[in-house]
Structure formats: structure tokens, C-alpha cells
């Protein structure tokens, strides 16, 4: 462990953390950032718990990280996690600082750490997880992540060889990372309620990585997620833990664990979250937890907080739905969801990048990877692109075939409540970027006020 520099960094970080708590700020990574600034190899020197679990991937890593932490805590573990902080190296450092004594020794037995894919080269040389869960890999922000093949290569290069990987067998990209590592796969059969996916713009893998022929999908769930094979013999990996059915009425998930059938409580009614739950179950089983312990923990932790929030008055529902802006797949999933809901719908879009709008000019290329075409349907009666980039949103909608008279562009979110054609709609969807949560919440209040007025 310690050099003088390390102890100085640790104590400074502890002091910073204390001061931040005194001024009412939680969950910051500032203490970790300061520690690494003072002592660049701080992450290598600070004490670690006996067992470390890393969670990475494009979508779902926060949900999976929270779920694993909740389940382990429900099993009686005292877990160290960065769930309230950040997932870059400074966030990981901040979590380890929280769990360390003044001598730098770790006071906890297990850590669950969300680790951003791009931080792999800064984290893994120092923090070597025993298990790494990778939820999936899709294209994400082009500025930071370039493309999934690049992110897969970054993970393969930097993941410790001794880490056991928990991988999604239905994702041909993430399932192939770090081929030398020991691995366990989870996956999902086609569920009874599922129809074949609609065509998505983003298909991050469609040719065989071995021979370059076009892949044949036995079933495609969304984008490149599904079961595929190639005539050269290449095929999706066989899942060790496979969801074979999901009963949404009784909230029950049936999983075949290396051939043995188990039943678990289903914690969400979305297919995407079944993958997240499967990832968590697989990890806990590999940690040696029994199905009974996991089931009991699932019952106690309850339903996963989804990124939905819904309110209704007199049969009119208003739904807030979050998706990471710049992340075409997350936004497309949101559009898919909205388009499959029943009733006449109004959709407000609040996806402008909150940082770019003042300091630069947002690179809007990503919106051409989003399936705006899903919003071109008769039951969507009004679409409101909103913010500095509203005209770009309008142009994208026009190219998607949405009639101009359905599009209302607004410069500011504050105008949304006044612009909605309430009499035309049964449902109102407020779709927003993760950094616009507070703004979206305010819009929800204003819209609900109007809905009540209209209803009275």
C-alpha cells in the first residue's frame, strides 16, 4: 500500500468528502478525482475488498449494478458500491475511499463497481474484479465511444485475464470480448409475447466476424440482439443461464440453469430488464448463492425502478420516459415503446445535449441513427421536438415521413404544456435526456395542471 503521497491523498480525499457532506453534496466523485491528482496510482494502492464485481456495457449497467448491490445486501452482505457516484476511475476511487479506514484498509468484504467502458484502461490495471458483468455493447456517443467494435477492443485489451466474465449470449459483440477469459453466458428464448423485431436503423453487427458473410438471425429481438448463425459454422454462444419464459401476469421468470429449471420473481415487465435481472441472477449463482437465497432476496428488493414515471387524470395518462441522449439505441427503444402503446398519442422530445447547447453546437448526426420512423404512425397525433435543435428534430421527422402538420417545434421546454393539443390525445409522452430530468419533471407538473384544467 502506502507511500507518504498515498496517505496524503487519502486523508485529503477523506477531508474533501467530509466537507462535501457538510455542504449537503452526496455522490460526487470529487474526492476520488483529488486523490488521483495527488497520487496517480492511488487506485492501485488503496485497500480493496476480498471480492470485486465490475459491471460494464453500453445500456443497463446502472440498473444491473443497483440490482446486484440490492440482492447482495438482501443476502446480508455489506456492499461497497459507486451507485451514488460516477463510473469513471475517479468514481471508483471515491467509492474505495468511502470504504477505506484512515490507514487505507478496506472495511468491506465485497464491492460492486459500475465501470464505464472507456475507463477500462484507467481502472483495470489497478482494480482487478473477480467477476465482470458486461450487459451489452451498442453504438453510443460517437465522440467518446467511436463504435462498438472499438469499445470491444478496449475491453479485450484491458480486462484482467483472471476476471470471470458474465456475458450476454444474445449479443454477438459483447459475448466475444476477451476470448481468453473464463466466461459464463446468460440469454433468453423468444418469449410468447414477442413478435419479430421491426427493422432498426442500427444493426451493429450483421456480417459474420469470421468469414464476412451476412449473418442469419433465427430470432432478432431488437437491433443486433438475438440468436444468429453463419453458414461457416459461427453462431451465438449457448447460454448457461437461459430465460425460457416470463409470466408477466404472475411476475414469474423461468430460468434454465445449466439444464435445471428454476423460478424467480420477475422484477420488471420490460424485456430489456429481463436481461438485466438475468445478468444479476447469473452473477449471484456464480458467486455461490443458492436459487432460494436469490429468490428470497428478489422478493425483498421488489420491482426495479424503471425510467418511467406515469401520472393520470380522468383516463388521460402522462408518461415521462428517460433515454440517454446521443445514444441512438436507447432512444429507439423509447420510440418503439411509445409506438406500441394504445391510444392517440402526443410525444414531446427533449433530447438536446445540455452541455453543448451553450458552449458549442451539438453534433446531431446521432439522430439519424435513431428510429424516428417508429413515430410515423396514425395514432401519434402530435410530435413536439423541443430546444435549440428543434428544427433538426423536425427535419429528421419529415425525413421519417411524419406529416408536417403533426410537428410543433418549440425553442424551450417551458412552452410544451401550452402547445399540446390536449383534446386530440389520450396519452402524452415526455421523452427526455438523462441530464434533463429536473426540466422534464417541471414539464410534467405543468402538463398535469393543464390536463386537470381540460378535464374539469
Amino acid at each position: 500500500m502506502g507511500t507518504l503521497r498515498f496517505y496524503f491523498a487519502l486523508w485529503c480525499a477523506k477531508l474533501i468528502k467530509l466537507l462535501l457532506i457538510l455542504v449537503g453534496r452526496k455522490g460526487t466523485y470529487f474526492s476520488g478525482k483529488a486523490a488521483i491528482k495527488i497520487c496517480p496510482d492511488f487506485l492501485g494502492r488503496i485497500g480493496k475488498p476480498e471480492t470485486i464485481i465490475g459491471v460494464t456495457g453500453t445500456n443497463g449497467k446502472t440498473t444491473v449494478c443497483n440490482m446486484i448491490t440490492d440482492l447482495l445486501e438482501a443476502c446480508g452482505e455489506d456492499v461497497l458500491s459507486n451507485r451514488l457516484g460516477s463510473n469513471i476511475n475517479a468514481g471508483v476511487a471515491a467509492a474505495l475511499i468511502d470504504g477505506a479506514s484512515l490507514s487505507g484498509r478496506c472495511r468491506k468484504g465485497i464491492a460492486v463497481l459500475e465501470i464505464d467502458e472507456r475507463s477500462a484502461r484507467l481502472v483495470y490495471p489497478y482494480v482487478r474484479p473477480d467477476y465482470i458483468v458486461c450487459t451489452n455493447l451498442f453504438r453510443d456517443s460517437m465522440r467518446r465511444n467511436a463504435h462498438p467494435e472499438y469499445i470491444a477492443s478496449v475491453l479485450t485489451e484491458h480486462m484482467p485475464k483472471a476476471s470471470k466474465l458474465i456475458l450476454n449470449a444474445d449479443d454477438l459483440i459483447s459475448s466475444a470480448i476477451a476470448p481468453e477469459n473464463e466466461r459464463v453466458y446468460f440469454g433468453m428464448d423468444r418469449l410468447e409475447c414477442e413478435s419479430e423485431a421491426r427493422e432498426n436503423i442500427v444493426m451493429d453487427i450483421s456480417v459474420c466476424p469470421v468469414c464476412g458473410r451476412t449473418l442469419e438471425f433465427e430470432f432478432r429481438r431488437y437491433h443486433h440482439i438475438g440468436r444468429a448463425r453463419c453458414e461457416c459454422g459461427f453462431a451465438s454462444a449457448a447460454p448457461d443461464y437461459k430465460a425460457v419464459s416470463a409470466d408477466f401476469k404472475n411476475m414469474e421468470l423461468k430460468v434454465l440453469e445449466r439444464g435445471e429449471a428454476r423460478k424467480y420473481t420477475l422484477v420488471s415487465d420490460t424485456v430489456f430488464n429481463i436481461y438485466n435481472e438475468l445478468a444479476a441472477i447469473t452473477l449471484l449463482r456464480e458467486l455461490g448463492r443458492t436459487p432460494e437465497e436469490i429468490e428470497s432476496a428478489l422478493k425483498r428488493t421488489g420491482i426495479v425502478q424503471s425510467r418511467f414515471r406515469e401520472e393520470s387524470v380522468g383516463g388521460k395518462k402522462v408518461t415521462m420516459l428517460m433515454a440517454k441522449g446521443l445514444n441512438a439505441v436507447a432512444c429507439s427503444r423509447g420510440f418503439d415503446h411509445v409506438s406500441r402503446e394504445q391510444g392517440k398519442k402526443v410525444v414531446a422530445l427533449m433530447y438536446d445535449d445540455i452541455f453543448d447547447e451553450k458552449q458549442t453546437s451539438e453534433n446531431i448526426a446521432w439522430i439519424y441513427d435513431v428510429d424516428y420512423e417508429f413515430l410515423n404512425s396514425d395514432d401519434i397525433v402530435q410530435i413536439i421536438p423541443c430546444g435549440v435543435r428543434a428544427l433538426d428534430g423536425k427535419l429528421r421527422l419529415l425525413i421519417a415521413g411524419v406529416p408536417e402538420e403533426k410537428i410543433t417545434t418549440l425553442r424551450s421546454e417551458g412552452e410544451i404544456a401550452g402547445a399540446i393539443r390536449y383534446n386530440d390525445a389520450d396519452r402524452i409522452f415526455l421523452l427526455y435526456d438523462v441530464y434533463r430530468y429536473d426540466i422534464a419533471l417541471k414539464v410534467l407538473d405543468e402538463v398535469m395542471k393543464k390536463v386537470r384544467e381540460v378535464h374539469q
Binding site: 453504438r139 465522440r143 464476412g212 458473410r213 458552449q359 458549442t360 453546437s361 448526426a365 441513427d369
Partner: protein, 232 residues
Amino acid sequence: MKVEILYPEICNLFGDTGNIRYLMRCLPEAEFIRTALSGEPLFLKSEPNLIYMGPMSEKSQERVIERLKPCKERIIELIDNGVCFLFTGNSMEVLGEYIEAGGTRIEGLGVLKLRAKRDMKNRFNSLFLGKFEDMEIVGFHSRFSSAESEEGGFAEVVRGCGTGAGSVTEGVRRNNFFGTYLLGPLLVLNPDFTQYFLRLMGSEAKIAFEDTARRAYALRLAEFRDQKRHLD
């Protein structure tokens, strides 16, 4: 009118397929042919009005080079004949002499006098404002590579960076071949250039959704000219 899109199953990164979706709205009567990696390019036997290729991963560049190598002479012939090409992102690099990547050299087709260099540790992101004839061009760079070239440039740099370090021009233009690192998608972002390009392709059509496209362009242009806004 025929538009050939080369290898859309892998050359589809960074939203640049938006160029094609916009062209489909501008040219509703045109035929859009998607040539798969396993297929034979249409341009070998006929002269499409446009041959388009979008950005791809670095591994895919090698696949595309392999597929296009036997077509080198035909590509040169088509460029000489004035056929329109639009290659965006890193796709123009495959037609260059080579791509230098971490100590190795990937031979390109050698159609263009252009040599690219990859730096996978550093991604370059920036806004771009340039001039092409009397038109202002806006776009975005997001790439690992840069290039040096003896070809004529596509646009003069006004703000941002050119094809390589210190370049005063961005992209490549030879006859009606346009190669550019710009993403955006270029045709959606630049109504004046798109109108010009449609004419070059042999169409008298007006660009689609002109009013909205021009208003979005004017707003972006003002932001790109604003020196207080940073480029990356």
C-alpha cells in the same frame, strides 16, 4: 436515376445513412441499389448517377479494400467520366495509397493520392466550417485518423481542421468525386451544397423540406461562426 450505396451493412456508422434517407426524399423517383459485401457492385456494368459509401469501423476498412481492389481501374474510369461519388467519414481512406495503423501499413486501392494515419488512442472531435465555391459548408469531425493528400481539397477550412494537421482544405475532390471526413450527415446539414450536388447528379429536383432545412442550416451556421463557441 440510380444511386448505388456500397456495403451499407457495414458502412453505416455515425448517422451518415441519413444522407441516403434524405436523397430518397429529394429524389422519390430514383432507384436506390444497396450493394452488399457479398455482392457485385452495380458500377462494374453501368454508370450510376451516384456511388455512395459511408463511414465504417477500422476492421471493416480492410474488408472493403479487399472487395474493391479488383474494381480499381473501373473506379478510376468512372471518376474520369465524371460520375458522382460521395464518400463520407473514413470511407475515402480505402481509395487512398495506404492507411498507417500502429506500425503496420494497410495498402489501399491507390485511386487517390492520399495517405491516412490512424491514432486509436486519440479520437479527434470538432466542428467544421468551410467554404466550397461560394457556399459555406458545415459538418462535424469525429475520427481516429487524419490524412495527407495531393488531391484537390473539397472545402477550404474557415473554422476547425482540414484533412490532416495543418491542412488548409478538408476532404478530396477529383472531378465529381467528393470524399470528406465530415459527418453530419453532410447532405442534410448543407442545403446549398445538396442542391448543387443534385444538379451534378443530373437532377433538376429541388431539395426536400427546403424551408426547414434552410432554417436549421442558418441557425447552425450562426453557431459555427460564433467565436465564443468552442469547436470540440
